[in-house]
């Protein structure tokens, strides 16, 4: 008998499995296996190195989440600006409410030929979907194991396949709204065939005690390119768990940027595997936390083949009693010469009670490589605040200017200009908000 919090999810599985997509097929068998592994491993906890700073078991002991209801009625978008951050950008929009796709709210206009966009249920019979769901990376097993929970319970998701050489005409925006309290398990699948291109925005908003568990499995073919901009801004009693697993073929490019305005407890996991030479991945982010928010970024880059480039920069500011975590690993396999891997994390503590835990690591088995990692934790420079104030800038505004200046280096990495400006505006407004 596993402990209570783990057992809770197993019971949910047993009660709901008959109604989950893919019943009777390969996915049903896959779910069985996944829930078995989940039962065996249990919810991760702080005695596991890869969960040292984010104890999910405790999180779910303190707050239990039943399945979020299917919400069919009207949806009131939360007041927060994050809900409309990308609204001015010409884009396709898919809306998910409580983790379920809502066709009536979505607006995916006419898609170019060679672009296939479906909800999860509609692609389960396709081999590529099966391949993506079943693939494991195994670079950080304790971290990746939690995907089993998603595999067992996933109920919906956005599935995008772009045929060879085709470009998605405008960004695809996946808007996830937590409307009612409870858990949702979402699985997104993205397959870009050779030389295909796409930009995806992903927003998670909500003002309820939700547990949003989202896994995005990505394959990027030879010379293909994926830009990804994610924004997460959920309620103080919400839990957010996101895992991105991406495999890049030769000369493929992935630029993924996440702005975390957080929720109660959030963890973003990124796994990148280079499977072809000359590929490039940039996994970056910025975060601004306050009150008792906790946000964890976990990032593993596997240079399994030679001559690939990876870049990771996370910059954040921590106010109140908030806590930030960065755990990262760049692995360079023995024959992966000419690898270039960089992993940096910098945090500013705006309050005495805020804390940052950073652990970037390198595991290098090749000799002809360029790798660097580093982390800093600092405070706003008192001298700089004084200098700005001595010119008549009030203290709050001086601090805001300096914090924006600090985050700018990271925000500039968001791989879409209008989205980048929208994120900058959000961060700037973050300061104006009264602490709830």
């Amino acid at each position: 008998m596993s402990e209570k919090a783990t057992q809770h999810f197993i019971e949910v599985y047993e009660e709901t499995r008959a109604a989950l997509p893919g019943a009777g097929g390969w996915l049903a068998r896959r779910r069985e296996a996944a829930i078995g592994s989940f039962r065996e491993a249990g919810l991760p906890h702080r005695r596991m190195e890869e969960w040292k700073y984010t104890d999910l078991r405790r999180t779910f002991e303190k707050a239990s989440f039943g399945p979020a209801p299917v919400h069919e009625g009207a949806v009131v978008l939360p007041e927060r600006r994050s809900a409309s951050a990308f609204a001015a950008i010409d884009r396709h929009v898919l809306v998910f409410v409580n983790g379920r796709y809502r066709d009536d709210l979505s607006r995916a206009g006419h898609l170019p030929k060679g672009v296939e966009l479906h909800a999860l249920d509609d692609v389960l019979h396709e081999q590529w979907a099966k391949d993506l769901v079943e693939r494991r990376f195994d670079d950080a097993r304790q971290a990746e194991n939690i995907v089993d929970l998603n595999t067992a319970l996933m109920s919906d998701g956005a599935c995008l396949r772009i045929r060879k050489g085709v470009k998605l005409d405008k960004p695809l925006h996946l808007l996830f709204v937590a409307q009612d309290a409870g858990a949702s398990h979402t699985r997104n699948l993205v397959l870009l065939e050779n030389e295909a291109e796409a930009t995806i925005f992903e927003t998670h908003i909500g003002e309820v005690a939700s547990f949003v568990d989202v896994v995005t499995d990505i394959v990027i073919g030879d010379g293909a390119r994926l830009n990804h901009v994610k924004l997460q801004d959920e309620a103080p009693d919400a839990v957010h768990l996101a895992t991105m697993r991406a495999r890049l073929a030769a000369e493929a490019k992935l630029s993924s940027f996440t702005l975390t305005l957080g929720c109660g407890v959030s963890r973003g996991q990124s796994f990148v595997l280079f499977s072809g030479e000359g590929a490039e991945a940039s996994i970056d982010g910025a975060y601004a936390l306050r009150n008792r928010q906790h946000a964890d970024q976990f990032c593993v880059i596997d240079h399994a083949v030679p001559a690939c480039t990876s870049h990771t920069l996370f910059k954040g500011v921590l106010d109140g009693e908030s806590e930030g975590v960065f755990q990262g690993k760049v692995i360079v396999r023995p024959h992966a010469q000419k690898s270039d891997g960089r992993q940096m994390t910098h945090a500013l503590l705006l309050s005495r009670d805020a804390a940052m835990n950073a652990k970037p690591e390198l595991e290098i088995y090749a000799d002809d490589v360029q790798c660097a990692h580093g982390s800093t934790v600092g405070e706003l420079s008192k001298e700089a605040v004084f200098y700005l104030r001595s010119r008549g800038i009030p203290e709050a505004e001086a601090r805001r200017l300096l914090v924006l200046a600090f985050l700018e280096e990271a925000l500039d990495l968001a791989p879409h200009n209008q989205a980048k400006d929208a994120l900058k505006l959000l961060v700037s407004e973050w300061f104006g908000e009264a602490a709830p």
């Binding site: 200098y387 001595s390 800038i393 300096l402």
Partner: protein, 249 residues
């Protein structure tokens, strides 16, 4: 305009200013000279309101108000400006953004209308040209990568834009070549008016050829030990500070 009475200031537990009395009236330019470590910058920081400079005795009144009761940005909005001896570099905040934020913050504090982007740009251009501050400098991060002389010119630009009532220039001449010195002096002189007062801290008589002071003070070991006319600066140039008891560095 500025009345300093028996001002005692400690920094890091050590008394640096030991009873300063100073009266500055509108329209006047005062020069403060004195050996290294005598407390000149300390005095300027106390006027600006920097943390860690503790007034243990005495008072400062500015335009009839208790300056020590005002916080740093209130003082600036009331018209106190300090051109720093060592201007700080602020990566990520462009000079342009900084200037606009500062000017509009002061206008707001005084109940004046804020300038929009167009009017602001016009004003900055107008003020930058005579100081040889290029557009390129304005677009860069504040003071980052500026040469010593460029930093000082940027300080004077801030001053001409903000049009303070009381300007304190802490060694704005050091590190300037002769042409830059003239440019800066012209910038300062352009601001001279019957409503404004200036305090020019310097080690060199040369600057005072261009910015001619009404009064010259000698500060030594935290006290004003001599006050005279502009000729006092010439005397000091010749004889040094020996007779006033030079400070231990």
């Amino acid at each position: 305009m500025l009345e300093i009475r028996n001002l005692h200031v400690t920094v890091g537990g050590k008394e640096i200013l030991k009873g300063i009395d100073l009266d500055i009236r509108a329209g006047e330019v005062h020069a403060i000279m004195g050996p290294n470590g005598s407390g000149k910058s300390t005095l300027s920081y106390v006027l600006a309101g920097r943390d860690g400079y503790v007034v243990t005795e005495g008072s400062i009144r500015f335009k009839g108000k208790d300056l020590l009761e005002m916080n740093v940005d209130e003082r600036a909005a009331a018209g106190v400006f300090l051109a720093f001896q060592y201007p700080l570099e602020i990566p990520g905040v462009t000079t342009m953004t900084f200037l606009k934020t500062a000017l509009n913050a002061q206008r707001r504090a005084r109940g004046e209308e804020e300038l929009d982007a167009v009017r602001f740009l016009k004003l900055v251009r107008e003020k930058s040209r005579p100081l040889n501050v290029s557009d390129d400098m304005l677009k860069r991060s504040l003071n980052v990568g500026y040469s010593g002389g460029e930093k000082k010119r940027a300080e004077v630009l801030q001053m001409s834009l903000l049009e303070p009532v009381l300007a304190v220039l802490d060694e704005t001449d050091s590190g300037l070549d002769i042409d830059a010195l003239k440019t800066v002096a012209e910038g300062v002189n352009a601001l001279r008016s019957p409503e404004r007062a200036m305090v020019v801290i310097t080690h060199y008589q040369r600057l005072l050829d261009y910015i001619v002071p009404d009064v010259v003070h000698v500060l030594s070991q935290g006290r004003i030990v001599k006050t005279g006319g502009k000729d006092l600066a010439l005397e000091l140039e010749k004889s040094g500070y020996a007779e006033y008891g030079a400070d231990a560095a």
